[in-house]
């Protein structure tokens, strides 16, 4: 007998639409199977409906990012969004949904496909005192623009002896998506974190995406804000207060534990938390640090945790060579070598261009079982 399956409420004030059916008519489906991808189609809260401090609601990461930008654009008329498909198309990943309608094409600017050009244009606007948010459709394409990001945005404050400022945010999805092969699947965290003059953020939760993006927009420095395609659709409870900010440079203890510290960022936090649950069953208590900020890196929080657990595992999607894990291992060795009871271990993306085939891709990207295995090795259990 057929029964009706109701559309879930995607958010209290929104309607949704079916983005993609994942099961066809007649196909078998078991409880818990995904039937469709649904997206919120929401009118942004009007000023009269602005929430009170302390309220939060469940929303996706893409909504949290959109709300962060909308709130900052309402607060500061010099904030504007620039990038490919951010306006009419509403964002290649629907992150800028509704912004064109609220702020108009003067402040939500669709660009041609010219990353170096529009990144440089954003830098010039920032030099002139505006606060651009430059969206890269993905950070893979930002390689076209990396000269403007590093040579123009990151260095000019220093080169000018403090006379020039570049308050700009470069944001977009980073890391490994699904089945898009090597040129569209790469983690740039260590590339940008290498550079003095840049702040580099890579949050995981919805609240952190919102609070850190707002901090990034208000920050007087260039900020690289690394998102993740596979995290956009995840839902979290997110504070609604327009003054909710998360400070740049502070890690978050995602889970307390005493036997081993696992430092991760972006989507790898999710996998680390899942691994911690498995480890718990094996009697190993893992403490998860969600780094959130890669530059500045919160070495204080990492060290405090290492002093508690004496064992450290770093997890990232990026390549091992000169990666974030390499930096953490070196920094922890310098800061608290005497507290370590085992060599620091790294779980990284494999040292290869990412393959397309599903089985090879899975082997190349860190999985929960890789984290569990490495954590057991570092815990000697």
């Amino acid at each position: 007998m057929a029964s009706e399956v109701l559309m879930p409420a995607l958010s209290p004030t929104s309607e949704g639409k079916i983005a993609r059916w994942m099961k066809n008519e007649g196909e078998s489906a078991r409880a818990g199977n995904a039937l469709a991808d649904a997206e919120a189609q929401e009118a942004l809260a009007s000023p009269a409906e602005r929430p009170q401090a302390g309220e939060s609601r469940m929303m996706t990461v893409r909504e949290a990012l959109r709300d962060a930008m909308a709130e900052e654009m309402r607060r500061d008329p010099t904030v504007f969004l620039l990038g490919e498909e951010v306006g009419e198309y509403q964002g290649a990943y629907k992150v800028s949904q509704g912004l064109l309608q609220e702020f108009g094409e003067g402040r939500v600017v669709d660009t041609p496909i010219t990353e170096q050009g529009f990144a440089g244009l954003g830098v010039g606007a920032a030099f002139a005192g505006l606060k651009p948010i430059v969206e890269f459709m993905t950070f893979n394409f930002a390689m076209q623009a990396i000269d403007q990001i590093v040579n123009s945005a990151a260095k000019t404050h220093y080169m000018s002896g403090g006379r020039m400022r570049c308050p700009i945010v470069f944001r977009g999805p980073n890391g490994i998506a699904a089945r898009v092969a090597a040129q569209h699947s790469q983690c740039y965290a260590s590339w940008y974190a290498h550079c003095p003059g840049l702040a580099v953020l890579a949050p995981y939760t919805g609240a952190d995406h919102k609070g850190l993006l707002k901090s990034a927009i208000r920050d007087p420095n260039p900020v690289i804000f690394l998102e993740h395609e596979l995290v956009y659709g995840e839902s979290f409870s997110v504070p609604l207060d327009p003054e909710f900010l998360v400070p740049i440079g502070k890690a978050r203890i995602a889970r307390e534990g005493k036997d081993v510290t696992i430092a991760a960022f972006s989507r790898m936090v999710k996998l680390a938390v899942e691994a911690a649950e498995d480890l718990e069953k094996a009697g190993i208590s893992a403490e998860i640090i969600d780094l959130r900020s890669l530059r500045p890196l919160d070495l204080e929080t990492i060290s405090a945790s290492v002093k508690k657990t004496s064992r450290l595992l770093s997890v990232e999607e990026g390549w091992p060579f000169a990666g974030i894990g390499a930096e953490i291992a070196a920094s922890v060795m310098e800061a608290c070598f005497d507290w370590l009871d085992a060599p620091v271990k790294r779980v990284c993306g494999k040292d290869i261009p990412l393959p397309y085939a599903a089985n090879l891709e899975r082997l190349a990207v860190p999985q929960v079982e890789d984290i569990v295995k490495a954590a057991r090795e570092v815990a000697y259990r």
Partner: protein
């Protein structure tokens, strides 16, 4: 196909100039010339290090262009920036001290020859990567349009930079959004050691905006009045909301690309011919003498400028090196 888009027609010095204007241009060009000569000497003595790209020969371009601008208009250029820095009103003492890497420098010794800025005078550098200043200058124009403040951005680039992809990207965006920007190509005929005809499929660079519908004009960049007149018309065009415009200033640098360049890719005769027949300073001097100025008066001006430059060189050499404490400052703006 012949170029069809021409917004401005410029006859050299068509708008004429009063003697006091010519005198001002002479003064500004002499300031740059004497400054650069002294910088070359200080480089030879080891007081200036690294790269040092002299502007000698090209003075009419920046002096003529700057005289066509209004307060609040933005300016940005490449690494051959000493002339632009001076023409934007930064004290020669600060400029020379910066070249020497001293505390009293425009960037407190942290930027050097290629990286000087004065946002309070709307001068945005001084950029070392060939062509990178072009999207940035386009962004300055974007900011003027965003604020609707009636200002324009002048973006200088060289004949080498014109072939960079980001320049074409910038032209497209500027034309697409009708941004108030004047692109000034300083065609000094050599991108480092490669002559324009060895680097560019078409050597008439003012055509480069044609694909985007950007008008362009070629100007005698050795004639300060021609530069100024074309600058006035181009500024008017950009300010009126009609979008970008390109001015190709045909000019010449007398010295090598940088101090370490012996310039063996061209003949001594070519350089001498430009110096003796087209020198921008001699041209203005001649015009002033023809209109009744006295030789002694012009010599006195030169002497005064030499004095200013000697003072700047003295200041630079007396200024201490940056405090080692400054090593880690100015990496981030403290929020």
């Amino acid at each position: 196909m012949a170029p069809r888009e021409k917004a401005v027609r410029v006859e050299a010095g068509a708008l004429g100039a009063k003697s006091e204007e010519l005198l001002r241009y002479l003064r500004e060009m002499l300031l740059i010339r004497r400054f650069e000569e002294r910088a070359g000497q200080l480089y030879g003595r080891g007081l200036i290090g690294g790269y040092c790209h002299l502007y000698i020969g090209q003075e009419a371009v920046v002096v003529g262009m700057q005289s066509a601008l209004r307060d609040g208009d933005s300016v940005i250029t490449s690494y051959r920036d000493h002339g632009h820095v001076l023409a934007c009103g930064i004290d020669p003492k600060e400029v020379m001290a910066e070249l020497c890497g001293r505390r009293g420098g425009a960037s407190h010794g942290k930027g050097g020859s290629m990286h000087m800025f004065s946002p309070e005078r709307n001068f945005y550098g001084g950029h070392g990567i060939v062509g990178a200043q072009v999207p940035i200058g386009t962004g300055l124009a974007f900011a003027h349009r965003y604020r609707e403040d009636g200002r324009i951005a002048v973006t200088y680039l060289g004949d080498g930079a014109i072939n960079q992809g980001q320049v074409a990207e910038s032209f497209n965006m500027a034309a697409l959004w009708k941004l108030p920007v004047v692109y000034v190509i300083e065609n000094n005929r050599y991108g480092m050691g490669t002559s324009v005809d060895r680097a560019s499929a078409r050597t008439d660079l003012y055509h480069r905006g044609m694909a985007h519908g950007i008008p362009g004009e070629q100007i005698d960049g050795m004639d300060v009045l021609a530069v100024r007149d074309s600058g006035l018309l181009a500024a008017k065009h950009a300010r009126s909301g009609e979008g970008p415009i390109i001015l190709e200033m045909v000019t010449y640098r007398y010295r090598g690309h940088s101090m370490s360049d012996p310039a063996k890719y061209r003949t001594r005769e070519e350089v001498d011919r430009m110096r003796s027949e087209h020198d921008p300073i001699d041209q203005v001097r001649r015009r002033l003498l023809e209109s009744g100025a006295r030789e002694a008066e012009l010599d006195a001006l030169d002497k005064e400028i030499r004095g200013l430059i000697a003072e700047a060189a003295g200041f630079a050499q007396d200024s201490p090196e940056p405090d080692p404490e400054e090593l880690f400052t100015d990496v981030f703006v403290e929020a």
